[in-house]
């Protein structure tokens, strides 16, 4: 059971949050100009990394804010937490 440091509320139990999958997948600005394959790439394709992963979490039973998390999926350690719109920390690339 993770302890997640919500950037707005502080450290809370995992049960207050819901996971939103991979982060930094930007919705195409002009979907109509994309081919089926390009659209499918946005729609369906997600990484499943063993190691450092950037992901979205929502403090759904708290402030309802979405934010980003850097997590090492091999040991579940959360390495960094940052707000939506902020640049991902470079040292984990």
């Amino acid at each position: 059971m993770f302890l997640i440091n919500c950037p707005f509320c502080g450290e809370r139990d995992q049960s207050e949050f819901s996971s939103g999958g991979e982060a930094h997948i930007v919705r195409p600005k002009q979907p109509t100009e994309l081919s089926d394959d390009e659209w499918a790439e946005y729609l369906f394709m997600r990484k499943n990394i063993k190691g450092i992963q950037f992901e979205r979490w929502n403090h759904v039973h708290g402030c309802r804010k979405w934010f980003n998390v850097v997590r090492d999926t091999s040991n579940d350690k959360i390495l960094s937490v940052y707000k939506m719109g902020e640049k991902p920390p470079v040292n984990y690339k």
Binding site: Q30, P31, W39, A40, D76
Partner: protein, 1000 residues
């Protein structure tokens, strides 16, 4: 019968005699006994039959690792409990226990025949045997297997006991109250760490607490005396909490641990009443010290499972802690020094014993002590067989060859009434590995030890592979100082004297002259798997320990292989000729020992099982005999039976009344989201398929929301209350998810939009009145409101007051009738409802539930998201192309609507179905085919909604059918179990296609 209770100990209160029943017979023990020690004191070893071969089995251990002595407690239908370990169950007055897995009784068990036919039941027997014929599986094999499967009997009535959960936070959690745990807890607590010490036993002290060997001393005292002092001291520490009878069940990530505390299991029946039985502790600890100790290993030799064969150290504990001897003529069979401690203890109490030692030589202090006492020791010998059916009475030993692979010389037969075995010690690394820690293998004594940690934790004491007392104390002190970053000097000058083990020899499967196939060398006592089974698995090609485990079921019983896993690994390694350390282990999964369901569930039973949401009108519905339907967490009136009507009759009456005069529905549960901000219109444009910019203030519009994959996600009516203010309604079940999804887009994709979302579902109650007389009823409630079609047309909104309370009234319709939804602040919801009912009396205003609502909308062909859709339906599949804007640049899911898959013409599409026999009502979910003769039958689709319409006086249904759009008039067949139903594809709208009734 001889008395096996041979001396007094401080842990047994001989002034308090306790009577208990075992297999129907009454016995006596003392307060402080476990069921196992009390049985042994009465000379009872035989306590059960093995799972597969039904061999007689006796008590093996004195703790959580016990594989055999598991019993059924009590006989009441609600309180009986199976698989309780007699070695852990504290004795109490009136305890009733019985042996398991035997019939008619433990001494004569019919299933014992399995032992005779055991050559016919090898590993994988079930997989190999019950393969064919296929038709036998359901009617012959499965019932037979089920009959013989399982240990013990589950209670058949609800558990009346009370259970509890508790959340706690500590700086340091210490697991295990043996010598290393006590030192760790003391050091932590004295250095200002808020500390919790848990131990599964009744008292602290582990195995040191009954230690009485003169060659093991601390500060010139017996180690047990020294430890008692330490325990007295730590009890005084103010920031140390000590919880005994508490075992850690699971170690999860982020140092989150679950512990089970036993509160009343040791109390007599009358004292248990109205008390919490067990409490689940949910512990968050900044740091965790694991001091869980180690358990003794059995040895694997022929017939090593007879009653009277125990672990050597358990014999010691029964003797020195409980004052019970396990026999009068005991043989100890060992490969290490610890059995010598047992031997010396037995000798001191005047109990005859000899030692069989695998090792060629042994030379420690303990061994010298045993020798000087004149205890007979057979070095370099091995037990090759044992005898005695219900209890061991003799055994055979032979000399070992130089390499230990064979036996040599003559058999020596020795008589005995008890055999103690010690195959070394296995560190309890369960907690370490559950936390994500890795293991190392130490070849010298063949143990897995904690290596890397992924959590902030440390292992100390014998669970870390430190076995002698000096090593344990020195290392624990050093490690804890480092771990907690402190400089504690308490143990600086502690003087420890102990025997040091010098000689080691480990043989996983002991050699024998008899071919392996004819031996019974048990590895897993509870699941009856033998060395032969493991070798067979390897022969048949299994290599991974995880596969061998599952094929032979080794380590898969309720004891989770605490005594067997290491031997299984060892035998695999030896057979396959690989190093044991390279094999890895099977996964250590929680819980460490079985948990009751009650502990896991805690107080969340009965009406606390799930959150229930009720509308403000709920009380009225109850008073008016509503039957309720669960929709998400909501209780919604399903129908209101009158005069013992059944559901069908009630729904027919309600549906007819709604169309003929007036009906009223509690629509409070619909999700309501308040949307405000200067970009609210643009936001709606992006989330709905249709256009919103031009919706006039005071008007309502139906919207369809898609997922990004183009599939219908939710629908509902949204009202423009003012320029920058909308009220969106969602489906009852989808409300929370819709809000979450909208927030997601708003916060992550479109943060530039000035829009604010607030859930107001619970803030407003809604009464929906429909039918040709609805306008008249509204007029009575709101006499000043101009209800003319010109002023207040369909799909528009007005505000008015009901006795000074603001109401929002939407003229929208989910039934096809003229219809008004009155929204009022929730606290007035009940009053509003009653006023509506009162006003509607003269018009036969009929309350209707969800079933009638579904019927009425189906007559109009309105979809229900989640009933007529299933996450694979596009708007076009639903024949709702009209609601998808062609002009809008983008909206959620737009691009997906012309992916190659979504434009296929043979997708499943929504159609209406009419049965040829208008009285025939289809079953929802029924499959639809064109032709029943072709094989395999081509499934075209299924029925999604089906009703008998009282207004049309015929059966109607909605269905999804492949290429359904082009099928109007097509005859199709719905094959049912006993008949085929003929249907014709129709339009989805069955009633009032011209929408005349909306303005009637």
């Amino acid at each position: 019968m001889p008395n096996y209770r041979i001396h007094k100990t401080e842990y047994i209160d001989e002034t308090k005699r306790v009577s208990f029943k075992y297999d129907g017979k009454t016995y006596f023990g003392y307060e402080g006994d476990t069921l196992a020690s009390a049985l042994l004191a009465n000379g009872i070893h035989l306590v059960g039959r093995s799972f597969k071969y039904h061999r007689p089995r006796g008590i093996v251990s004195c703790g959580a690792e016990e594989p055999n002595a598991i019993c059924q407690i009590g006989s009441k239908k609600d309180l009986t409990e199976p698989n309780v370990r007699a070695t852990e169950l504290e004795l109490y007055e009136g305890l009733e226990a019985s042996s398991q897995n035997c019939w008619p009784n433990v001494k004569f068990d019919i299933g014992g025949i399995n032992n005779l036919i055991s050559p016919l039941i090898p590993a994988g027997f079930y997989y190999k045997t019950f393969m064919w014929p296929k038709s036998f599986w359901k009617k012959v094999y499965e019932p037979l297997i089920r009959l013989s499967a399982g240990l013990g009997k589950s209670p058949t009535e609800p558990d009346p006991d009370i259970y509890d959960h508790k959340y706690v936070h500590y700086d340091v959690l210490v697991i295990g109250g043996g010598v290393s745990g006590i030192i760790a807890a003391k050091m932590a607590a004295k250095n200002n760490f808020k500390t919790l010490l848990v131990d599964d036993k009744k008292i602290l002290g582990g195995s040191t607490i009954y230690q009485n060997n003169e060659s093991i001393k601390i500060d010139d005292k017996l180690s047990s005396e020294w430890l008692k002092n330490e325990i007295q001291e730590i009890k005084k520490l103010s920031n140390l909490t000590i919880k005994t009878r508490t075992s850690i069940a699971a170690y999860h990530g982020y140092n989150f641990l679950l512990a089970k505390e036993n509160l009343t299991d040791h109390l007599p029946e009358e004292k248990k009443k109205n008390k919490i039985r067990q409490r689940l502790w949910k512990i968050r600890a900044k740091k965790v010290v694991i001091a869980t100790g180690s358990i003794e290993r059995p040895l694997v030799f022929n017939n090593n499972d007879r009653p009277g064969i125990l672990l050597s150290n358990s014999i010691n504990k029964y003797l020195d802690y409980y004052g019970v001897t396990c026999g009068e003529n005991i043989i100890l069979f060992t490969n290490n020094d610890s059995a010598y401690e047992t031997s010396i203890s037995l000798h001191k109490k005047g109990i005859k014993n000899i030692i069989i030692d695998l090792r060629k030589s042994a030379s420690s202090e303990l061994i010298k002590q045993a020798e000087s006492l004149g205890i007979k020791i057979y070095l370099n010998h091995v037990v090759t067989n044992t005898f005695g059916y219900r209890k061991i009475n003799s055994l055979e030993i032979m000399k070992l060859s130089e390499d230990g692979n064979t036996t040599i010389g003559d058999k020596i037969k020795l008589s005995c009434d008890c055999l103690g075995m010690s195959g070394g010690w296995t560190p309890m690394v369960h907690m370490h590995t559950q936390s994500g820690g890795k293991l190392d293998f130490r070849d010298e004594d063949q143990v897995f030890l904690p290596k890397e940690n992924s959590e902030d934790q440390i292992s100390v004491g014998s669970c870390n592979g430190d076995f002698d007392l000096e090593n344990i104390i020195d290392k624990t002190v050093n490690k804890i100082n480092k771990f907690l970053d402190i400089d504690n000097q308490d143990y600086q000058d502690t003087n420890i004297i102990c025997s040091k083990e010098n000689d080691k020899r480990n043989i996983w499967l002991l050699p024998n002259k008899i071919p392996l196939g004819k031996t019974k060398c048990f590895v897993d006592f509870q699941n009856d798997s033998t060395a032969k089974d493991i070798k067979l698995a390897l022969k048949e090609g299994f290599r991974s320990i995880e596969h061998v485990k599952r094929y032979t079921t080794t380590g898969m019983a309720t004891d989770q292989g605490k005594l067997s896993n290491m031997h299984a690994l060892g035998i695999i390694a030896d057979t396959a000729g690989v190093k044991m350390g390279t094999l890895g282990t099977t996964t250590f999964r929680p819980p460490f020992t079985p948990l009751t369901f009650g502990t896991l569930v805690g107080r969340n039973v009965g009406k606390f099982f799930e959150v229930v949401r009720k509308t403000s009108m709920h009380e009225w519905h109850v008073k008016n005999n509503a039957e309720f339907e669960n929709v998400g967490q909501w209780k919604r009136p399903w129908y209101y039976p009158k005069n013992r009507e059944n559901m069908h009759d009630a729904v027919q009456r309600e549906s007819k009344a709604a169309r003929d005069s007036a009906g009223i529905l509690d629509a409070s549960t619909l999700g309501k989201i308040d949307i405000q901000g200067s970009d609210a219109s643009e936001f709606l444009n992006r989330v709905y398929t249709n256009a919103w910019s031009k919706l006039a203030i005071g008007k309502c519009r139906y919207g369809l929301m898609l997922n990004e994959d183009g599939m219908v996600y939710d629908d509902g009516v949204t009202t423009r209350i003012s320029e920058n203010h909308y009220l969106m309604t969602t489906t009852t079940g989808g409300a929370a998810n819709v809000l979450s999804k909208l927030e997601d887009y708003l916060q992550t994709e479109w943060p530039e939009l000035d829009v604010y979302l607030t859930s107001v579902t619970d803030h407003y109650s809604t009464a929906s009145i429909c039918g040709p007389n609805s306008k008249k009823i509204l007029n009575k409630l709101f006499p000043n409101l101009d209800l003319s079609d010109e002023n207040f047309p369909h799909m528009s909104f007005k505000e008015d007051k009901l006795e000074n309370i603001n109401c929002r009234i939407m003229r929208i319709s989910f039934t096809g009738e003229q219809s008004y939804e009155i929204n009022i602040e929730s606290k007035y919801g009940h009053s509003l409802w009653k006023m509506c009912i009162e006003a509607g009396k003269e018009f036969n205003l009929t309350p209707y539930g969800t079933e009638t609502m579904h019927l009425l909308r189906a007559e109009k062909g309105f979809i229900i998201v989640g009933q007529d859709t299933d996450g694979t339906m596009t708007p076009s599949d639903l024949q709702m192309d009209w609601i998808v804007s062609k002009k809008k640049f983008d909206f959620i899911g737009k691009r997906s609507l012309y992916r190659s898959d979504t434009v296929r013409e043979d997708r499943k599409q929504l159609v209406g179905l009419l049965t040829d026999d208008p009285k025939e009502i289809l079953e929802e979910g029924a499959q639809i085919v064109l032709d029943v003769k072709s094989k395999p039958i081509d499934m075209l689709g299924h029925v999604t909604s089906s009703y008998f319409s009282p207004n049309l006086n015929k059966s109607i249904a909605l269905a999804v059918v492949r290429s359904g759009k082009t099928m109007k008039g097509q005859k199709l067949i719905i094959p049912m179990e006993n008949k085929n139903i003929n249907v014709t594809v129709s339009d989805t709208i069955f009633l009032d296609k011209e929408n005349k009734r909306l303005n009637a």
